[in-house]
Amino acid sequence: MDWLTTVDHKKIGILYLIAGALFFGIGGIEALLIRWQLIKPMNDFVSAQTFNELITMHGTTMIFLGVMPLIFALMNAVVPLQIGARDVAFPFLNSLGFWTFLFGGVLLNISWVMGGAPDAGWTAYTPLSSKLYSDTHGVDFYTVGLQIAGLGTLIGGINFLATIITMRAPGMSFMRMPMFTWTAFITSAIILFAFPAITVGLVLLSFDRILDANFFDVSEGGNPVLWQHIFWIFGHPEVYILILPAFGIISEVIPTFARKRLFGYSSMVFATILIAFLGFMVWAHHMFTTGMGPVANALFSISTMLIAVPTGIKIFNWLFTLWGGQIRFTAANLYASGFIPTFVMGGVTGVMLASAPADYQFHDTYFVVAHFHYVIVGGLVLGLFSGLHYWWPKMFGRVLDEKLGKIGFWFFIIGFHLTFFVQHFLGLMGMQRRIFTYLRGQGFDTLNLVSTIGALLMGVGVLVFLFNVIVTTRKPAGAPNDPWEDGRTLEWSIPSPPPEYNFKQIPLVRGLDAYWKEKMAGHTEMTPAEPVGSIHMPSASILPFVMSAGIFVAGLGFMYHQYVVLVLGLVITFACMAIRSLYDDHGWHIDPEETTEKGVKE
């Protein structure tokens, strides 16, 4: 019950972690089923229809319900601590964002048992996703489920923007903010400007399907390419929503375990902003083959390649940070170091794809699949594992087992390269993306077998991590404030896990890497910026949960044309909003004497 009503950012972070991990697991099982189907030619493990549903749900689940929530988990767990705040700007909204995301994700996934999952690919291109070609309710689950989940993401994004702008501790100027917080900030800004576009796209698609509108129906004047524009205006920035936080994690982990400050901090900040900006300019590189014409193709080609410049700056900064450092290869740092070459490979194939004429060859082949998995899995997922190992002690008060962590790493990274490296060649040899089976004697057999074996190894890696979590959780908690001993940022200056109110006294920040700076000056604690006093806390509330449940009900009603249900759901949601605004809730206080006892949660 406590968990249903919590507004504490640390607990919400854990909720995001659990939910994200669950969906990541579902997406992973789907991936393994896909690979199992492709293990040999002419396999009949699943039907073509099921295969379409599997790839669609795999991609959709992984991106929207697996990795994005995991990013939000780390952002919630870490950002307020890194900026020296007691909470986010809007604790209530934080909880609302989580529950809407979760209910949206559940709505999308119950499609499996409610008459068919979406089957038009995670990009849901029209007319494939129109009623004509996809006549189950699958795509309706996609449009409505993602709409609701997307709402939650948007709420989370606005909350983090406001938090980072207004809740920084005294002395924490923007140019003293830790890199992870910077990337959380920029990612939230991208969310704010990209998600409304997909919101509209999903509205249009659901209107076409549910209300018989004609946005994408050519016979009534509609235009399917319009969907692609809207989808990718959101979709390409989405890629940076995913990767920038990974950059942020790497920028925290590497300096800590190299015992050096991050090389080129300000160029890192600048590069992050530049990448975000360019990310909005390049969406049509997904549409080279739609006949936009040579001029548009050339422009989008060049603007895409430009992104390699700030990305390159980042890569070199990490290398220079490692250079001459006293490097310790903990599990977290292994993942971070494994990230660098892997991500570079993904980036290089990205530049190759950005060349419009070459893309006519690569388009919709396994080369593309290999590319985006190198960046998403080899980039973001490695980054997430690194961050989880790194911040686990701060979140749970227990250090993950290093040995198991390293074993998991090796399974994962070897499996990863086996799976996806060979897919480049499959693509170059002409194996199309999203085919459900292939004939013998086309030269695809061995490489597909290798790829599937790699996927299984990756699965083992994930299981080892899970095992590690279980083993660790059964050990007594007792991690020190700064378990890595070389922590540089504010989160390491307070207990692990932090008390409910994070900081007994808001710290005074005197430079970049605030905690490191104090340590170098011979202090063991931060200098406080305020006297000890009573601490204001927000109250817990069940309303976010009920509001999201209302939206869920309304979504189902809309999908099935049950307008009574639709209205009922909306009434629940709006009634909660009215209650929230009519009854002021001033929260509660923790008195100074209590802070010593209430130190540790639960």
Binding site: A89, F90, L154, I158, N159, L161, A162, I165, T166, P170, L192, F193, A194, F195, P196, A197, T199, V200, G201, V203, L204, F207, D208, L211, D212, A213, N214, F215, D217, S219, E220, G221, G222, N223, L226, I230, I233, I506, A529, E530, H536, F574, A578, S581, L582, D584, H586, G587
Partner: protein, 208 residues
């Protein structure tokens, strides 16, 4: 050191009550951000409309359909309501709760008037011109864009009405003031969007 929280400010109302507390300032800032997102939302809807506005299939075209007088009247009403919401905020800054509530009530009434005209317009199109959501790509784009805006107006009307109730119950405080301020920002925003709709949808539809 840190800014006062809402429950700490008990003395007389400060000059800009909406910005007197940390919560209030956060609310205003977050609302600006939210409006940024809303701008993208409407931007995408406008882009969709512009892409499809000539795709009338075998339904009526914009030129045949639109009757400018009624739209002009709706525009006038909405613009005036923006003005009355400015008066409301000015009253708030003077600390005059009564006049604040009064101007908010006028704003709500004007908003309702606008909605009435819009509903009348839609019903006319559907019943007399056989121009519904499913008629053509143009019609789908038209109803979606204009309807989305209308839904925003409706939401604003309900919201401001609830605020009027709150003001009556709790008075003008550092808790209610940011809410009023933010709702006025919202109201201006949907007004600005309407100006674009009037130009891009109606004027362009008549002449372009």
């Amino acid at each position: 050191m840190s800014a006062p929280h809402a429950e700490q400010v008990t003395s007389a109302l400060p000059h800009e009550p909406e910005k007197a507390t940390l919560e209030g300032r956060n609310k205003v800032l977050a609302f600006w951000l939210f409006l940024g997102g809303e701008a993208v939302l409407f931007g995408t809807l406008f882009a969709t409309f512009l892409a499809l506005r000539e795709q009338i299939a075998d339904g009526p075209s914009a030129n045949e359909l639109f009757k400018l007088p009624i739209v002009a009247a709706a525009t006038f009403i909405l613009l005036v309501s923006s003005l009355t919401s400015v008066f409301a905020i000015q009253a708030m800054h003077r600390g005059n709760k009564k006049s604040l509530s009064l101007w908010l009530i006028v704003t709500v009434i004007l908003g309702l008037g606008f909605l009435g005209l819009e509903i009348y317009e839609f019903v006319e199109y559907v019943t007399h011109e056989k121009f519904g959501m499913t008629t053509s790509a143009f019609s789908s784009a038209f109803y979606t864009l204009v309807g989305f805006h209308g839904a925003h107006v409706l939401f604003g009307v309900v919201w401001i009405s609830l605020l009027i109730g709150q003001l009556a119950k709790k008075g003008l405080t550092v808790v209610t003031a940011p809410k009023v301020y933010v709702s006025a920002m919202y109201w201006h925003f949907i007004d600005v969007v309407w100006v674009f709709i009037f130009t891009v949808v109606y004027l362009l539809g008549k002449v372009g």
